[in-house]
Point group: C2
């Protein structure tokens, strides 16, 4: 039972999903490829933590709709309660580039940041759209602890805040790239 197993269980705790759907939904907070997810779902099924129903479709391939079992929920709750906090892992190649930003000409640096900013802006709009959808399909306010969307809502909030924070950081850095600040010939 690796962390990804619990990620799958907690998605299924909200609603039944196919492996394909899980792969897409998971991108938001635990990136994994379908080649990792399909075998894991089969394993969880053998362990009795999820079940699936084969759904025949026309025009599209058939799919397996996975649901979490009572055992699965119990296992997930136990993990949430007992799993000690682990270090969060972040690997962002952009940060590598930033560390060495002094090696580049100010104009190159500026372009790098602006490119990043545009990508973030796009992601923010997409998130805002998904947030609106979430609020429309609600049966009660998503801010309500009892709502089935509550956890998902907190996560989307966090995602949006993270993106906004990075945009703010970029806007804070940009004035530091003055065209006047040329690369000095010797910096030691």
């Amino acid at each position: 039972m690796i962390a990804l197993s619990y990620a799958l269980l907690c998605m299924l705790a909200r609603k039944p999903c196919s492996g394909y759907e899980l792969t897409k939904l998971l991108q938001m907070f635990w990136q994994a490829q379908h080649s990792q997810i399909y075998p894991l779902l089969a394993k969880l099924e053998k362990a009795g933590l999820v079940t699936f129903e084969l759904i025949g479709q026309t025009g599209k391939p058939d799919k397996k709709l996975y649901s979490i079992t009572a055992d699965g929920i119990a296992k997930l709750q136990h993990w949430i309660r007992t799993q000690p906090p682990t270090e969060q892992l972040e690997r962002d190649e952009f940060l590598i580039k930033i560390y060495a930003i002094g090696l580049m000409e100010p104009e190159t640096s500026r372009a790098l940041f602006l490119e990043r900013r545009e990508a973030l802006e796009i992601r923010l709009h997409r998130l805002e759209g998904e947030m609106r959808l979430m609020e429309e399909e609600r049966e009660m306010p998503v801010t309500d602890y009892a709502s089935r969307q509550f956890g998902r809502y907190l996560l989307y909030q966090r995602r949006m805040r993270l993106v906004r924070e990075e945009i703010d950081w970029i806007d804070w850095t940009l004035p530091l790239f003055k065209p006047s600040a040329a690369l000095p010939p010797e910096r030691d």
Copy 2:
């Protein structure tokens, strides 16, 4: 040449380091174990991108002080200029727990968030301390593009902002865990 290679090169572009030191410094933005770093440094050395000098020490084991070569700098600059933006990877088990937070009693959830908040508070203080050190060992303002610390400064700023942002997010969520909001017996 994987991303970690460039991470090592950009650390060495700031100053010569031992593998041991690199392992510690890298924790800030690209987690890797020494068992991955030592063999990679040997590989970079064979490729002529870094060189090392053996430093004999008394009371401590000898160390290899690695420095970046002109070829290494060129390779790094080329990578920064041409490497297309890649998706950033984040894996945080806490986020999995949050997604399924509705399965837990409000008091358990509250405790989980408060525990996280404390850990963040500690990290923030540590970061502030390191930031102060950075500003003391400066030969010119760290906010200056020409400063050798400039990239590192931007990164530390980002780290601190990220931690503060998460603390703010937690403070925003906490009032939503009203003790009155009990787990409903049936939620679909």
